[in-house]
Symmetry: C2
Subunit: 217 residues, 2 copies
């Protein structure tokens, strides 16, 4: 859906981020879910210093933050699940299919994101520290183990279960950084590329990038 | 609820773990949710080498795994949410309260568990590596920042929102290791102790420990 300034759903995102974060900030995941579900939304862009009140909305001072009437949500997983509840495009209606999709949603954000972010912190955020190479090897090994298991699970399947769900959306989003994919088996790389090729993802990425100013406010 | 060998719900747990993991393995979180919800369950205990087939149930070879009729779930967050859907003791029925509880459930398993597990991996799992002290300081700093924000959010409140929910259950479970709490403000420590004092938690911990054999199979 095109963004719509009159939409009931408001997504808070950053108005500027450094180059390495463009295309990776987590509002993108929520935009993607909204595009898959066919729901229009407006954005509120944060620029400059975070106001103190913002921490009463988003306790970590991060994005995305989601508002829809009286409902205020943070955490991309909770927001994606809320959107998925509205749309069979993201969440099967039967109890078993629904449960499997939600299991993969949590798997992406916990079992997979813990080693992904550990590897990113050790490798990129502290690249200049003398301990970085050793820690990077250890977290890389942890990540490689999880990716190998994911590759075994996938085999030559298109998606994690018998159709695309919010679980695939979050797993693809978690794995699409260069640092995550350098450790991935070929079938996992192909899976991530398949997710990124979805029209809804392309629209979400374009909107995410269009909202980012070239210069800090 | 007492465990019941005829229960419809089956939780898979380990039959033995090393001393440092006793009281920390994630089947405890699911047992706690079941106790809060008043649902009885039986356990299947894994001993010795993990059979290859188990990875088709739990893709990472970890516990817990949950079976209930045709429904098979992995990831403690997905299982806790499934249980919470059955019981107002864990999940408010109104949309706003429900959304807030689920936001905190994801917050525990993503925004908080990423630095907790990063800190545990750097500090404990690789204690003998020369890079461990430096990495431990960096992940400790990351964790301390999140814990400070959590302390600001809590203030002198009893729970994260206006009542105990599955979000508190998971946040308390995520933070109750010594390595997490050594970095926590006093009000966060008191919050975790309040969660651990709940009768349902004590029953779940006793059942978790009772299922652990003193020696590896």
């Amino acid at each position: 859906m095109p963004m719509n300034p009159d939409a009931a759903i408001e997504v808070t995102a950053f108005g500027w981020v450094p180059d390495f974060a463009r295309g990776q900030v987590r509002d993108l995941r929520v935009r993607w879910a909204l595009e898959e579900a066919g729901l229009s939304y407006r954005t509120r862009l944060l620029t400059g210093e975070r106001p103190a009140e913002y921490y009463r909305e988003q306790p970590w001072g991060q994005v995305p933050f989601y508002r829809e009437g009286a409902l205020q949500l943070f955490e991309c997983g909770a927001i994606a699940l809320h959107i998925a509840e509205r749309s069979e495009a993201l969440l099967p209606r039967d109890e078993v299919g629904r449960g499997r999709a939600i299991a993969w949603l949590f798997a992406a954000l916990n079992s997979m994101d813990v080693p992904v972010m550990g590897h990113v912190v050790a490798t990129a955020f502290h690249a200049d520290e003398p301990w970085s190479p050793g820690a990077s090897r250890a977290f890389g090994e942890f990540l490689r183990g999880r990716l190998a298991r994911l590759g075994d699970w996938l085999g030559d399947s298109e998606w994690l279960e018998d159709r695309f769900t919010v679980g695939d959306l979050m797993m693809v989003a978690t794995l699409r950084s260069d640092l995550a994919l350098e450790h991935a088996p070929d079938n996992v790389v192909a899976y991530v590329r398949r997710g990124e090729a979805r029209p809804a993802f392309r629209r979400a990425l374009d909107a995410h990038l269009a909202d980012l100013s070239p210069d800090p406010a």
